[in-house]
Symmetry: C2
Subunit: 205 residues, 2 copies
């Protein structure tokens, strides 16, 4: 039996939030193993033992981050509506995903780090929750194709390509800026236009 969860105090709420924000910054920039508890504590403006008063371990912070993020991350795909106009729905999904890369690049890199290294901590969520959602939406796309509303493509790979293309701008940010010639350049307007064209041409029957 567990002690009934005591009321979370004001300070607790503030500090857990500050810690998660700091952890996102550090984990996304250095990966799980590359990040140190000290770095996170310093970024949060706390001492290491104080930070460990709020989370039992480094791993727990990481898990809390990933769990909290998974929901948000899948929202754009969930919003894909079978009853909408097929092309507009897909272009809308692409736009939302690209906006997430622009507005939440750290979150994108956090996932990227985790998955590149074999998803040791969120493997189950991928083949469970994620797979189920993707299969469901792939089925919708499949029906659109069968109805002749968009040109035929492999639905799963269509989804992969949307992920790859949009997340690239967050995850490979440094490379994009290096090639385009400087950190002051904003690639997103062009990227948006490019992806719009790409998917329109590919999917118009």
């Amino acid at each position: 039996m567990q002690q009934p969860a005591r009321t979370t105090t004001r300070i607790q709420r503030k500090n857990t939030a500050v810690i998660l924000e700091a952890a996102l910054e550090v984990f996304s920039a250095h990966g799980f193993r590359g990040a140190t508890v000290d770095q996170i504590a310093q970024a949060a403006g706390l001492s290491k033992p104080n930070l460990l008063y709020y989370f039992p371990s480094k791993e727990a912070i990481h898990t809390a981050l990933l769990d909290g993020l998974m929901e948000t991350w899948l929202d754009p795909l969930r919003a894909l509506d079978e009853d909408g106009d097929p092309l507009a729905e897909i272009l809308g999904y692409v736009r939302r995903k690209l906006e997430m890369s622009r507005d939440y690049p750290r979150e994108s890199r956090l996932f990227a780090n985790e998955i590149i290294q074999g998803a040791p901590r969120i493997g189950p969520a991928l083949s469970g929750e994620l797979k189920q959602l993707v299969d469901e939406k792939a089925e919708i796309i499949h029906r659109w194709i069968a109805d002749g509303k968009i040109a035929p493509v492999n639905p799963h790979h269509l989804i992969f390509s949307i992920w790859a293309l949009t997340q690239h701008y967050a995850d490979f940010d440094v490379q994009v800026h290096a090639v385009l010639g400087g950190p002051e350049i904003d690639p997103y307007p062009e990227a948006g236009a490019y992806l719009d064209t790409l998917f329109t041409r590919m999917l118009t029957p």
Copy 2:
């Protein structure tokens, strides 16, 4: 003045090769910080001090790997030929890049790890060598468009999209297999067909 480099012995050649192979395995799976010298030594079948007899530091091994790889990695893009058939040239580039993801996933992940974490060790190569090559090839694509040989698109983002789409299958391998439903599935045949369709539809004038 430096001692004139002594002849590299047979053992030296064999062991540096073994070490680099082992290092590729370990670095690509865990990132720079996540990899330990001991792991690499063990994978190479050497003791840690013995490994450090061939390379002065962990960092030196990593650098040697990245330097050696950069060349190979850019080869497919270098092969893009202005005088060939535009669409065939681009589709060929896509195919070669996809084959590299399939045949050299560890190399792809090594780069991905490095770039996601801000390219602390190869930043200069990105804005130097890489940028120059990309600018050059973008110019070629631009001329193809001006000549009406392919449909108009932003050449730089076209190249980004080829990178993103092909490397996705190596870097996010676990996710792809999780969603498709098992490690026994080979996504590459479908991926090849999908990308062929995608770029053909987008670029046909």
